[in-house]
Amino acid sequence: MKSAIHDYLRPKKKFPHVWCPGCGHGIILASIVRAIEAAGKNRDEVVVVSGIGCSSRAPVYVDFSSIHSTHGRALTFATGVKVANPKLTVIVISGDGDGMAIGGNHFIHACRRNIDLTMIVFNNNIYGMTGGQASPTMPQGDYASTAPFGTLERPFDVCKLANASGANFVARGVVTSPIPLEKHIKKGIEKKGFSVIDVAETCPTIYNFFNKTGNPLKMMKDLKAKAIPVQKANTMTEEELKGKIVTGVFADRYYPDFTTSYDKIIMDSAKRSMKDEESI
């Protein structure tokens, strides 16, 4: 048995980590690390970038170059890293609040720009860190500190949004199935261009507090029951799909990515710049 995660924990960091008992974030983080390992990336050439949120604490624990950036802005920092040094493998970790609320614009633009980043959305449908406000992926009608009468808004489907915005690779995993999750992330890393892996998970502390969803284990079991592979989902009616979480790959395209396209410009420009300045 190989335990990739343990090879990648920061030597100087104390464990256990800060996340609550049963919080899905740890499962996703371990899956990311296995995926990086499986994709054969040199750990020195990996940069992990996150925003702010419980989930965004993830990079602090694993031994890569990492940026715990500002709330919602992980993709912007990551874009800078990638464009300034296209050789690097850049992984973006973001919460559903971080990535889809305040960071939503950077998300759709990263998709459109097709910048070669792999973004993993730690999607617990709530703002964990700030104590339970409604996130843009919270199911309509669920409760939150800022939705004491149930959220009025419908949730984003992260994958639909990514698809409509032009990402090259779009998939959804779920923490109850860590191996397919790892595979999606690995594919995302290997894919040139922008990849998004939306990960359905649980926040047993805060979500439960407002929604009485039960203890961590019950929430995990419920989550498992909700997850339906896309192949199966395609055979189901909309009614049957209510409350379900569809997993699998939603887009796998080959549009040229930003930095590769840019390299062509550099090659062409280098020629143009050869021309010497006229003397006065």
Partner: protein, 73 residues
């Protein structure tokens, strides 16, 4: 199968969520008297790694080398 002697739980990391127990397809795990899971039926293990991968605390360990490395933490 299995002489899985390194299938063990690092108790000072474990937060006792019970996922390892629930998600093991072979029902290998149980909570011990100390409240922490332990591999009650290691011989049934099929090395699917679910327990390792599903543990949110990285507390399920399946390798001698890792076990040793993590001892001090």
């Amino acid at each position: 199968m299995s002489d899985e002697k390194y299938l063990y739980v690092k108790k000072n990391w474990c937060k006792r969520c019970g996922y390892c127990i629930e998600f093991c397809p072979k029902n290998v795990w149980e909570f011990g008297d100390d409240g922490y899971p332990y591999p009650a039926r290691p011989q049934d293990c099929v090395r699917c790694r679910m327990c390792v991968n599903i543990c949110p605390e990285f507390a399920v360990i399946g390798e001698e080398e890792v076990t040793i490395k993590l001892e001090g933490r």
